[in-house]
Amino acid sequence: MQSVTAALIWEYLARNRWMLLLGLLLSSPIAWVTLLPFRDVDLQSVSQREVIQILVINVHCLVTVIGGCVIATQGSMSSFYLKPMSTTAIVNFFYWGGALLVACQVALMLWMWKIFFVSDWPIVGSVLFAVVCWGVFQPIFRGSLESLSWVIMAPAAFLILAIWLSAKHGIPVYQGGMLSPQVHYWDSISGSDGLIAITTLCISYVLTLWRVDYDRSGRSRRTWTDRVRDFFASIDARSASRMRLFQSPVHAQAWYDFQSRTAMIPWPVLSIVPCFWLLAIIFGATSQNLGAGLTVALGGVTAATVVQIIPALFLPFFSFLGHTITQETTTGEHINIKSSLSLGMSPYLFSLPMSDRQRAQAILRSSAWACGIASAIVLLSLAVPVGLGWGFGADLIMRKDVGPVKLDVLVPWFLVVVCGGSMLLSFVFATLVFTLDFRKWNLRDWLTPLILVAVLIASLTPIALPLSMGLGVIAAGYLVYATVQAVTREDISWVGASLVWLAGVAFFAVLFLGSPEGFGDYGLVLGSILVMLAMLPFFTTASAIRDLRTT
C-alpha cells in the first residue's frame, strides 16, 4: 500500500464490499412502501404538498438507513487507536470518507427514484442535507457521553441543523408547516444554505475530532453521567430479582426470541408515538388550533407504522451478518462454516433439546407478540386523536380541494390499510429471518420477498391488476403446497393448520368488508397477498429451522 489512507480504503472495501450494497437494498423497500399508498396522486409535480410529504419521509428514512449502514460498515473507531496514525487521520477517514459514501449512495437512490417515480425530485439539496445529517451525528456516535459539557456540546450542531431545517423547509412549527403551499423541499439551494451546511459540517468535524482525541487519550473521570448510568444500573439490578421461571421450552424460547430479536419491533413505535403527542400538544397550544394539533398526532400513526416495518425489515439482514464464518484448517485452507446468528439462533441454543416444531412455535409466538404490541400502540395512537377529534368536533386533516376529511373516511383507511398493513408486513419480515438463506438461492425460500417486490413493481405497470392477481394465484398455490408439506412432515397439526387458515379467512373478510373507499381492486389483491404471506411462516418456519440447525 502506498499510504495509510490507501491501506484503510483497501481494508474497508475488502471487508465491506457486499455490505455497502446492503444500504441501497434496505433503503429501496421504504420508498416502495411509502409511495404505494400515493400511487393515485399525481407525483409529477413537487409543488404538491403530498409529494413534499413523501419526499420528506423518504429522504429522512434514506438518510437514516444509509447512514446507519455506513456506520455499521465502518466499525469501531477505537480499533484504530493502537495503530500508528494521527487522530486527525483517523477522524478524516471516518468523517469525510463516511460523508462521501453517504452522499454517493443517497444520490444514487434519489436518481433511481427520479427515474421510477417523480421526475422533478431534487437531488443536490437532499444530498447536501444527508451529508450535514451525517456530520451532525458523528460527535454523538463517536465516543461515549461522559461529561455534562459534552452532553451540551454534542447536540449543538444538531440544533443548527434542526433550526435550519425548520426555518427553511417547513417542519410544522408554524401555521401550515410542512403542508403550507409555499413550502418547497430542497429544490433550490441559496448561498446561505451552503454557508449553513459548511459551517455545521465544520463544527461537527471539530467536535468529533475533540471527542475522539479525548477518547484516545484514555482519560476518564467520574461525571454526573456516570451517576445517571449507576442509577439505571441499580434499577437494572433490582429487576433481576423478578427473574422468572418458564412453564415450558416454548415459553422460554419465545421469551428469548422476544428479548434478543423481536423486541426491536415495538420499541421504536413506543418511542415515537409520545414524541408526536408532545409535538401535537406544542403545536396545538401555539397555533390555538386543536384540529391542527390532532393532525400532528395523527401523523404519529403513519410514522409509527413506518418505524414498525423498518426494524422488522432489518431483522433478516442482521441475522445474515453472522451467518457464516471462515475457519482455517491445519493445512492453511479456509472453509466456510455456519456460525452463530447475531439476532437469531446460535450453536448453544441449537444444543438445547427442542424440536423444530416447538422452536417454530416459539419464534412465531414471539414475532406475533412483537407485531401485536407494536400494532396495539399504533392503534392507541390512532384512537386518541380520532377520539378527541370526534369528541370536540375538530377537523383532523384539511385538504385544500375537498376540505376536512371525514372521520368515517379517515378511520377505515388508517385502521385497515395503515395499521393492518404494517402489522402484517412487519410479521412477514420478522419471520423471514428463518427462511432466507443468502448462501442458497433457492426459489422456494425467496418466494415471499420476490412476490412482495413483484407486486410492488406490478403497480407501476398498466396491467397492475391482472399481474398482481397472477402473483396472488402463485402465492395461494404455494400456501396450499406449504400447508400440505407441513402437515405431512408433522411440522404443524391438522388442527393448527385449520386454525391458521380460519384466521386467514377472517383477515380476508375484514379486508373485503372493511376496505375503505378508494382502496380499489389492486389494494384488495395486495392486501390478500399480504395475508397469505403472513400465513406462510406458520407452515414454513419449522422446516426452515431444520435446515438452519443442521447443515
Binding site: 427473574m243 421461571l245 428479548q259 446460535s346 450453536p347 440447525r549
Partner: protein
C-alpha cells in the same frame, strides 16, 4: 429408532464411516468411532483436525454426508430432543447469550431439561462463586466457562460433551473443569467426551482416546493399550550411519552415527527381533508419553 432400542444400547456414541466435506475441503474422512457408556473419551487433534466438526455431528448440527452417527441409538439429526436431552454440551466458543444474567440463563436452560437438578445447579453456582444477578457479558472468560460448565452439568447428563474445555483458561478454572469431569464419571454410567490439544489433561483423565488428523482417525483405543503399544528405544549399531536405518514399526527417529533413537509401534519382542536383524543392540528403552505418541502419529501420517 425407538426407545426400546436406545435403552438397551451399550454405546453412547457410534460413528460409522462418517465423511464430511465443506466445499472442496474434506473435513472428515471415513471416521469410525465407538464411545462406550461410562468412562472418559479424549478426542485429540491439532486445530482444524475435525474435532469440532465431529462433535457437531454428534449434536446433530451436521448431516452425515456418508456413513452414520448414532447417539444412544438415535440419529441426532432426526431425533434432536431424544439425543440433546441426554447431552450436556460446552462449546469451545462459550456462545451463551451474553445479554442474560446468570440466574436468567439458568432458568432459561432449566426449562429445556426435565431432569434439571435445581439444588445441584445452585450448589455448582455457589461453588463457582457466580453472582446470579450478574450479566454474562460482564463476566471474565473463566467465569463464563464456569457458567457454561454449570449449564452442561446441572441436568446430570448421560453424556457430557466438552469441546476444548480448557482452552485459554487459567489453572483454577481448568481444575474446576477437570473436577467436573471426574465427578461426572463418578456417577455410574455417565460418559464424558472431551476434545483437547492439551495432552497432559487427556493423559490424566481419559480411559480411551482417538487421535484425529486432517479429518482421519489415526489412532483409537484404550489409552493404556495405546501407550503400551508405543515405546522409545535407543539402538547402537555396529557401524555408523548418516541416515537412520529402517526399523520395522518405527514412526519417528533422531540421532546420528552409531546411536539412533526410535519411537516405535508394535510388539516389544518383534521390535527387538527387528533390531537384531539390522545388527543393533537395544541400549535404552523408555515408555512414550501421549504427547510424543500424538506428535509421532501426526508426523508418521
Amino acid at each position: 429408532m425407538g426407545d426400546s432400542t436406545s435403552v438397551s444400547y451399550n454405546q453412547a456414541v457410534e460413528i460409522r464411516n462418517l465423511s464430511r466435506t465443506f466445499g472442496s475441503k474434506r473435513a472428515l474422512h471415513d471416521v469410525s468411532l465407538h464411545i462406550p457408556r461410562g468412562g472418559v473419551f479424549g478426542l485429540i487433534g491439532a486445530n482444524g483436525a475435525g474435532k469440532t466438526t465431529l462433535i457437531k455431528h454428534i449434536l446433530g448440527a451436521h448431516y452425515a454426508e456418508t456413513g452414520s452417527v448414532r447417539v444412544f441409538g438415535f440419529d441426532p439429526v432426526t431425533h434432536p430432543v431424544e439425543v440433546l436431552s441426554r447431552i450436556g454440551y460446552m462449546s469451545e466458543d462459550r456462545d451463551i447469550p451474553h445479554w442474560m444474567r446468570v440466574q436468567e440463563i439458568m432458568n432459561y436452560t432449566r426449562s429445556f431439561f426435565p431432569k434439571w437438578d435445581a439444588s445441584f445447579a445452585e450448589e455448582l453456582r455457589e461453588m463457582f462463586d457466580l453472582d446470579p444477578k450478574q450479566r454474562i457479558r460482564t463476566l471474565s472468560r473463566g467465569q463464563t466457562a464456569r457458567v457454561c460448565l454449570l449449564l452442561a452439568l446441572a441436568h446430570r447428563p448421560e453424556l457430557l460433551v466438552l469441546d476444548e474445555p480448557s482452552s485459554g483458561l487459567d489453572p483454577v478454572v481448568r481444575r474446576d473443569i477437570l473436577a467436573a469431569i471426574v465427578q461426572t464419571v463418578a456417577d455410574e454410567g455417565r460418559t464424558v467426551l472431551f476434545s483437547s490439544h492439551l495432552l497432559d489433561e487427556v493423559e490424566r483423565l481419559a480411559d480411551r482416546v482417538a487421535i484425529l488428523h486432517e479429518g482421519r482417525v489415526l489412532l483409537e483405543g484404550e489409552l493404556d493399550a495405546i501407550q503400551e503399544s508405543f515405546r522409545r528405544i535407543t539402538l547402537r549399531f555396529e557401524q555408523p550411519f548418516s541416515e537412520a536405518p529402517s526399523i520395522l514399526g518405527a514412526i519417528e527417529h533422531r540421532g546420528s552415527g552409531h546411536e539412533w533413537t526410535y519411537v516405535c509401534r508394535g510388539d516389544r519382542e518383534q521390535l527387538i527381533q527387528a533390531a537384531k536383524t539390522v545388527k543393533a543392540e537395544v541400549v535404552h528403552e523408555t515408555p512414550v508419553s501421549l504427547d510424543e505418541i500424538f506428535i509421532s502419529s501426526i508426523h508418521g501420517s
